[in-house]
Assembly symmetry: none
Homo-oligomer: 251 residues x 2
């Protein structure tokens, strides 16, 4: 993986609690040549403690803090969540890390920017946070009978994932589907579709299909390209215009 590709990988820590873990993540990023760390946290991140991480000061100094997952991944074309399988009923495709690494390599071989999301040490990623992900990756772990939470240590999990990305070096050539839409565009599409579902009465009629996360996943599964995103937005806006016009006529 070339320097330019490493530069288009973003590690996003969501609700990480332990500053030592943030430091360990930064160190692993530094070791493998990744630069972009983003942190989603409700409260102020205790960077001072994390900064003690050996060798990782540059990564930490450049870390960006966001208030929401949506903002943290807005410029990314592929959003990958990490999960311990079995943690919950999964509604996303899940790939083992080795296979996930190939898919991520292919995305980077194009012009995409990839976000890797890691959840909090205690609870992992919530369903809402997962709903921003195109798919999930899982690190294959031993099944232990006694285990309730089969999650890895955060710093180790990040190290293992980043290692997988650099281990092959074999630059997978991307297929010519075209550049995917960014997460920000996907989010705008989701908002428009949601409004359309409400205004047309679909939400009322099929409430079981319509919680926010479900609609977001439905849109993500469309795998909209950057070229198609404005077309779909135009279509949805036209529908909304027409529905509004219909309503105002009838008033």
């Amino acid at each position: 993986m070339g320097s330019e590709e490493l530069n288009r990988v973003v590690v996003v820590l969501v609700r990480a609690r332990n500053p030592n873990n943030i430091g360990a993540v930064a160190r692993a990023m530094h070791d493998f040549g990744f630069r972009h760390l983003r942190i989603v946290n409700e409260y102020a991140v205790p960077f001072e403690t994390a900064r003690s991480a050996v060798d990782a000061s540059e990564v930490l100094a450049g870390a960006a803090v966001f208030a929401s997952v949506a903002e943290a991944v807005a410029d990314c074309t592929l959003v990958v969540g990490t999960t311990a399988v079995g943690e919950r009923a999964l509604q996303h495709p899940v790939y083992a890390l080795a296979e996930a690494g190939e898919k991520i390599g292919a995305e980077l071989g194009g012009e995409g920017r990839v976000a890797l999301l890691f959840g909090s040490e205690k609870t992992g990623l919530s369903n809402d946070e997962l709903s921003y992900c195109h798919w999930l990756l899982t690190i294959p772990m031993e099944k232990h009978e006694e285990v309730r939470h089969p999650s890895m240590n955060l710093g180790q999990a990040v190290a293992v994932c980043l290692y997988e990305l650099v281990r092959g070096e074999s630059s997978v050539v991307a297929g010519g589907v075209g550049v995917p839409a960014s997460a920000g565009e996907v989010e705008r599409l989701t908002v428009l579709l949601t409004e359309m579902l409400e205004k047309t009465g679909y939400t009322k009629r099929h409430p079981a299909n319509c919680d926010e996360a479900q609609i977001r996943r439905l849109v993500l599964r469309m795998s909209v390209s950057a070229g198609d995103a404005p077309v779909w937005m135009g279509i949805l806006r036209q529908v909304l215009w027409k529905v509004r016009e219909g309503s105002s006529d009838s008033e």
Copy 2:
């Protein structure tokens, strides 16, 4: 890697100084299903602190302490040292981790027992300790200009090495990506979408986007699954119903 093969891998920590690191190593071993931890140390190992490692109590309880590398690896048929390349003039063959993993797998595929040696956090393995090794493995890391000691965090290094040994095995089943929709369903979607574009006035406004083949390709690029197809049809039908209702109100 089967349980029996995992059982023939021995992780040897030589002069590890930080009990937290020993705990982290034990946790990584537990996560990936390895059992045999050996510790070479001149002074008593502060196991009590290390034992706090989540989930790793079994590995730590079974850890064996040795006074010398020679004793720690005596029953092993292959001894592999880990090193950061460039650390010193190397007198051993050095393999990148991916290739090393294959060689270790081959040894375990026979009846061999393999020792993986990790040196102290500060200094790595000494020349004397390296002399017990058949060959060395190195984790590929980014070269940073400022770096004097390009070593990884011990717990992360062990996690990455053990991951490489099990990564091939990953028989994780992918969750519900779903069967793709049939061409017939895609065609029905295309017909409904076309009708919606006409009824909402989109066709008139964006004629350049709306020849039949373009709309069909737009739908094909959604890669709709068999599960999502009826959802999208329901949405389009609801829009059509709403638009019709609006029009009849206004007549």
